[in-house]
């Protein structure tokens, strides 16, 4: 009997699922930790970072057991744990961290370490000296995966060695990657021992994979989720700061050209009355219902709900106020066609979205309907290719999505230094002396805590700011919930509030996933 029981338990242990198959958009082309930030990438899975962010965006120790910051906020000292080893068995040394930081500073990376003056080892500790205080620096550190100096070479990107919870077992370019739990990981052993990531980018492909039971979890869209329930799977709805909004150029057409010569500005949206009227004329609850099938929440800023968010940026829908704004600034519908004019200029402008992005298209169209009905401003919603967008967006409103666990995004989005750079930041050409001062103060503050009031004032200080109550360069519409079909019994742990991008944010805490019995 005992033997049988043992046998039974062995079989059940053997069949206890410790594997997960993930339908995943965008298998990376390599795993070099020096090129990408850990926020929204493979870094938290394969590598370990000095500090990490918990689900409430607090900085917690990871590879470093602790750190201290000097009073002038220019010197960061990290004490590294001694029990950490790379997956090849070599211990993680302070020199590896120095190597990592220097490598990032010298090469092309999306991590901006220009503020770092020097990195060195002192008394067995890692010391980083900054040129000037940078309140977001510790968040940058939380995104930097430490790589082994002894093993870093030419094909490291395809054969990565880290000290994170997982190691790369197999990688087929563009198709799949398989991660195995790292036996040498210093933290708690993950319950999921093997994770297969299958490349899956199309909504219908994802749905088919779930219907046929090929994957345990995958992404889906609001349109699909509203129309399909799949037996054996539950719909996971994760709240996000993945906000979608419409950028509104604030300068008149022809007033300047971008760095690569694209004409900038728009003669309708440069009028603050038009921008604010559009912002106040939209019922965002209705927007979420109509365009996102209820899988979204109203958005009022690029960082709703984050610690540095200013809750005063919330506005109430107020159609009467919006009409009054337009009336008093001379936009009236004299010819009775339902669209206002001023000095022969119609209150009409195109709004571009990425062709094929159904959520952005639906949001823009729903907003356009409301704006036309409520205040007689016409938004002509049109699709455009991603390649053309950067050139167009400095002159025309565009549906963009942001959302990040680092407030530096706000700096890039609204500081006057970002004007005309031909990148995704500040296509509105917004720049305001008061806002610049707040943003500079926030970024240059000694700590996250000190910076928060400045980040908030940049959004709304009582008289001006980047929010829709202030200068309104950006019509925020909705935070799009991230939606997944997950097999019954798969527990995906406590997820941090999701940033933009539904893939990596989901698996960032893979080590906390498990199968319920």
């Amino acid at each position: 009997m005992a033997g049988d029981a043992d046998k039974g338990s062995t079989t059940s242990t053997g069949s206890t699922k410790d594997e997960v198959t993930i339908g995943f958009p965008g298998i990376p082309s390599g795993f070099d930790p020096f090129t990408v930030s850990g926020h929204g990438s493979f870094v938290p899975l394969l590598y370990s970072t000095l500090v990490a962010l918990d689900k409430d965006v607090n900085v917690v120790p990871d590879l470093a057991t602790g750190y201290s910051v000097s009073d002038d906020a220019l010197t960061y000292t990290f004490t590294l744990r001694t029990d950490a080893v790379f997956s090849d068995g070599e211990p993680v040394k302070v020199s590896d961290a120095v190597f990592t930081f220097e490598k990032i500073m010298s090469g092309a990376s999306e991590i901006d370490l220009a503020v770092v003056d020097s990195v060195f080892e002192s008394d067995g500790q890692l010391v980083i000296k900054l040129k000037r205080p940078r309140s977001t620096f510790i968040l940058d550190v939380a995104g930097i995966g430490i790589a082994p100096e002894h093993a870093y070479g030419e094909d490291f990107s395809l054969h990565p060695i880290g000290s994170g919870p997982y190691v790369l077992e197999q990688y087929d370019v563009g198709q799949q990657m398989i991660l195995m739990a790292n036996n040498l990981y210093y933290g708690a052993a993950p319950a999921i021992k093997r994770a297969v990531f299958v490349n899956m980018t199309d909504e219908d492909q994802q749905l088919i994979a779930v219907k046929s039971g090929q994957v345990d979890i995958t992404l889906t869209s609001a349109t699909i989720a509203a129309a399909n329930t799949v037996p054996g799977y539950r719909l996971v709805v994760e709240e996000t700061v993945d906000n979608m909004g419409i950028t509104m150029p604030v300068i008149p057409a022809g007033s300047m050209a971008s760095d690569s010569g694209n004409p900038m500005g728009n003669d309708v949206t440069c009028d603050i009355a038009v921008r604010k009227a559009v912002a106040y004329a939209i019922d965002r609850e209705r927007l979420c219902r109509e365009a996102l099938n209820g899988y979204g929440t109203p958005a009022y800023s690029e960082n709703d709900g984050m610690p540095w968010w200013n809750p005063e940026s919330v506005i109430e829908t107020d159609v009467a106020f919006a009409r009054e704004l337009l009336d008093s600034s001379g936009w009236v519908d004299a010819d009775g066609d339902g669209i206002r004019e001023k000095n022969g200029q119609k209150a009409s402008f195109p709004v571009y979205y990425f062709a094929g992005d159904s959520a952005r298209q639906a949001l823009a169209m729903s907003a356009a309907n409301q704006v036309l009905e409520n205040i007689g401003v016409e938004m002509v919603v049109q699709g455009a290719g991603e390649g053309d967008m950067v050139a167009m967006m400095v002159a025309w409103p565009v549906v963009l999505a942001w959302g990040s666990s680092n407030p530096i995004t706000s700096y890039y989005l609204f500081h006057s230094a970002s004007i005309g750079r031909d990148d995704w930041y500040d296509p509105e050409s917004f720049g305001d002396a008061a806002v610049d001062a707040y943003l500079d103060a926030a970024l240059g503050a000694n700590s996250m805590e000190e910076a928060i009031p400045y980040w908030q004032k940049a959004q709304w200080d009582g008289t001006t700011g980047t929010s829709m109550r202030g200068e309104c360069p950006y019509i925020f519409l909705a935070n799009k919930d991230h939606l997944y079909y997950a097999r019954e019994g798969l527990d995906i742990g406590d997820q941090m509030i999701h940033a933009h991008g539904a893939g990596w944010t989901l698996v960032a805490n893979l080590k906390e996933w498990r199968w319920e019995n």
């Binding site: 159904s358 169209m365 049109q382 290719g385």
Partner: protein
Amino acid sequence: MDGMRLDRDCTDDDGKCAAKRGYTGEDGKGGAKLVSWNRRTGAAAWAGCIFALILAIYIAGALMPDGALRADFAKKSLPPSLEHIFGTDFLGRDMFVRTVKGLSLSLLVGTVASCGAAVIALVVGVTAAMGRRWVDHVVNWIIDLFMGVPHTVLIILVSIALSRGATGMLAGIALTHWVGLARIIRGEVLQIRSAEYIAVSRGFGKSAPWIAVHHILPHMVPQFFVGLILLFPHAIMHESGLTFLGFGLGPEQPAIGIILSESMRYISGGAAYLAILPGLSLVLLVLLIDRLGHTLRYLLEPKEAQL
């Protein structure tokens, strides 16, 4: 001898009558004048009907206000019903309206692209047949080259080289579709060129260009128009295919290719009608135009009519 007589008649008034003589002669010969006349009337009526229908689709699409394409979220994702016979999409837009607009756009694209292709074919075909031997060789070589490369690949290449979008696509279709018709025209011209009346005309001292314009081109009129119309369905299909693949018309255009590629996302979700009904409409339109082409052939080429 017959040919000579006709030729002499024709050189007096302008050469157009060559074509006319061509069929009146045949008609008279057959002794089945009544029957063929009725068939021709029937064919003409048939062609008229098809043409009117196609024109109606075009005008309906062109006149439909853009407002009809505005999203109406109260009516989103409805299956086909009496009110919306093709159903509505995820934005609540009526799929029938979108389809008609798409077909109308396809017709426009088809007209421009196939006219371009037919003109190229005529010029190339006549040049090849009338010019010197080496010209003929070169042209034949080019034709073989174009035939050797798969159509779709060639169109995509041309379209990308000419900055994608509508212009690139039109050029791509025009530059790839002339080949077949050019061969037919070249063959026809070679045949006519060896006719006795051409030799006689040359004997009277007429120059090669004069002969081409007065004796050859008029005979090409039926070939040209029938070929043009039969190119039409190809052009439309390629336009939709190219747009479906993302190389053709812009995503804001109400094109059938866009509708189809959009709808692919919903097929697995159970809304297959979003793809099937517009797709069928496109096939029907293409079949209609094809029929128009064949009917016109009866009218313009009496030989065909009597078969």
